[in-house]
């Protein structure tokens, strides 16, 4: 921990001081974008090729990917370990019901539900904003259960027994399945893009610093709180979207399901196993999750036990998850959100780069020309905290 702390301490002055030039990692961006476009196009065409059983499974995978990506933004970047994201899952699900009851098409209600969830996220952030670690975790959990208690006490929403969306769906089963699939894919792409842009945007460096050492990052300015609020609200919107998709795909909404803490468990397990602190991790984690689910699905809840045990083991022994192992082994980053620090030509680099070289990464040579980025630059951020 001390090495990451000192690295963050060195990073923060770099953020404000003109000692260094900070650039984005840019390699591979173009071909990644191309591959991503092709992949999304293929996925979008899928309902014409496969049975609805496959697409409805993929809807579930996409929902978990969305939730895990949001939790990863919170815990992996903003340092906020939430165990209460099920609150926003539930809000999103019930918001779809409310809009549908008022005559709004469910797929129009989907983005509206996300908006509602984000709006709910603002006062919730105000409640939680000073809390950290265990306090934040449990308080977010309590907020979620308060939201659940409030929503499930409304009789027009079926109270605790749940409510069906069936009266509001005017599609054939096949068409509904396909549109739900496209909607889930759209929300997933939007969620990943939002996370990527957030991390590459101005707040990204702040978040990277926060992840390494929040206190050091805070001392660099008042920006941290604002960025954390932004992440929290984005995560609320994303989890609200996941909840809305859940409602549409299950056609039935019940408080004890959508507000269940097991959603938090799912997103946490998927993120940890896949790799916390990278955009790729939650995607891979969600896939692993469903591979294990499909493999052990016939043995009751065993799959969940196995996932929980794997997640605990990974958290202790392989903290950057499966993606961390792969990325280290083959040195790949599909979504490079790290930073390179380049010493200025007139600067002695020792003053502007972290005091010790990070194990495994080459130190910039003292005489490195400032103008030409080379692999000698030290990438920060893409290697978990």
């Amino acid at each position: 921990m001390s090495t990451t702390g000192s690295r963050a301490a060195a990073l923060v002055p770099a953020f404000t001081a003109p000692d260094v030039r900070v650039t984005r990692s840019r390699r591979s961006t173009v071909w990644v974008a191309a591959v991503a476009v092709v992949l999304v196009a293929v996925l979008a065409y899928l309902p014409y090729l496969v049975y609805s059983g496959t697409t409805s499974l993929l809807v579930n995978v996409f929902i978990l990917m969305i939730m895990a990506s949001m939790w990863n933004l919170l815990a992996g970047y903003a340092g906020l370990v939430s165990v209460g994201q099920q609150g926003f899952v539930g809000i999103g699900a019930y918001a779809v019901v409310v809009f549908a009851q008022h005559g709004v098409d469910v797929f129009v209600a989907l983005p509206l539900a996300m908006l509602v969830s984000g709006i709910v996220g603002i006062p919730v952030w105000w409640l939680l904003r000073r809390l950290r670690t265990a306090y934040f975790a449990i308080a977010s959990w309590v907020v979620a259960s308060v939201l659940a208690a409030i929503v499930t006490s409304i009789s027009s929403l079926g109270s605790g027994t749940g409510i069906s969306l069936l009266p509001y769906l005017n599609f054939s089963a096949t068409l509904l399945g396909a549109i739900t699939y496209w909607a889930a894919l759209t929300v997933l792409v939007a969620a990943l893009a939002a996370g990527y842009l957030l991390l590459r945007g101005r707040g990204g460096l702040v978040l990277t610093a926060v992840r390494d050492d929040e206190i050091a990052a805070r001392s660099a300015g008042g920006r941290v709180g604002r960025v954390q609020r932004l992440v929290f609200v984005v995560a609320a919107i994303g989890c609200g979207g996941a909840g809305a998709l859940l409602a549409i795909s299950q056609i039935f909404v019940q408080g004890s399901n959508v507000f269940n803490v097991s959603w938090s468990a799912e997103m946490i397990f998927a993120t940890i196993i896949g790799g916390i602190g990278s955009i790729e991790g939650p995607i891979i984690g969600a896939i692993i999750y469903y591979v294990i689910y499909e493999t052990l699905g016939n043995y009751g809840t065993w799959y969940f036990i196995v996932l929980g045990v794997i997640a605990m083991a990974v958290a202790i022994w392989a903290r950057r998850g499966l993606w961390g192992l792969v990325a280290d082994r083959f040195n790949i980053r599909i979504f490079p959100v790290g930073y390179y620090l380049w010493p200025r030509a007139d600067m002695v680099p020792a003053a502007s780069v972290p005091p010790g070289p990070v194990p495994g990464t080459p130190v910039p040579p003292p005489a490195a020309p400032a103008a030409s980025p080379s692999p000698a630059g030290e990438e920060l951020g893409a290697d978990g905290g």
């Binding site: 090495t3 005091p355 010790g356 070289p357």
Partner: protein, 258 residues
């Protein structure tokens, strides 16, 4: 000129050989060797960041060395955890005193005595050494002054009846008169059979009390010898790493300039 041990019959009480330790990538200690004989007051001197505290922490078992060994009375203790080294007879008074702030003075001493070896020191004996302490034994340690805290920290280590007492920067942050008083206790400690290995930034203080001097510079030994065998020039050279260390000093001390 070198203080020749009595025919080399007895092995040194504490023997450090080729000790290398890192803080992350930084090499804090680089092949440091030293031999402390029973009854010595062995002083490590050196500037800030010379690796003095790391050396003591590594000997005490708080820091894991990357190479080298620590032997106590011939027995290799390198792989042992700090708490097991106390049982073997190595006690460290850490830099910054590190009392248990929410415990009283007496409770601090009792914690020190929890895993004590048999020996002359007891809480009662510490009270005899520091008269004021008995009256204030029920005060929280956090309410004491710096010098008083240092005395309690010393007492907490003594009640464990160590064979080798490691003292890290006793004088840090204390008024000169207090430092003088604390170092004045050393003869009392030695008379009970304790051997002392201390780290001191104040060279003149170290020269006054030590029977042997060992100078570190950036983790390496630059000088070793008895205080009366060293000249001010040789010490200054070793302390600041000036190139102009007189050859004679090395010859006289039998020290490899490394």
């Amino acid at each position: 000129m070198t203080a020749v041990p009595s025919a080399g019959a007895l092995p040194p009480l504490l023997e450090v050989a080729g000790l290398t330790a890192h803080h992350g990538q930084l090499r804090a200690l680089d092949g440091v060797s030293l031999q402390v004989r029973a009854g010595d007051v062995y002083a490590i001197i050196g500037a800030n960041g010379a690796g003095k505290s790391t050396l003591l922490r590594t000997i005490a078992g708080l820091h894991r060395p990357t190479a080298g060994s620590v032997r106590l009375d011939g027995e290799d203790v390198t792989g042992r955890r700090a708490e097991r080294r106390l049982a073997a007879g190595i006690a460290l008074v850490p830099e910054g005193r590190r009392l248990f702030p929410s415990l009283t003075v007496e409770e601090n001493l009792l914690v020190g005595a929890s895993y004590a070896r048999p020996g002359p020191w007891s809480v009662e004996r510490v009270y005899e050494l520091f008269g004021w302490m008995r009256d204030r034994r029920r005060q929280p340690a956090s309410q004491l002054s710096g010098g008083e805290q240092q005395a309690v920290a010393l007492g907490r280590a003594l009640v464990a009846n160590p064979r080798v007492l490691l003292l890290d920067e006793l004088s840090l942050g204390l008024a000169p008169v207090v430092v003088h008083r604390i170092y004045g206790m050393l003869p009392d400690l030695l008379s009970t059979g304790v051997t002392v290995l201390l780290v001191e930034q104040d060279v003149s203080q170290a020269l006054r009390v030590a029977s042997r001097i060992h100078c570190l510079l950036e983790g390496r030994t630059t000088l070793e010898g008895t205080p009366d065998g060293l000249t001010a020039d040789s010490i200054e050279g070793a302390y600041f790493g000036l190139a102009a260390v007189p050859e004679s000093a090395h010859e006289g001390l039998g020290v490899d300039p490394a």
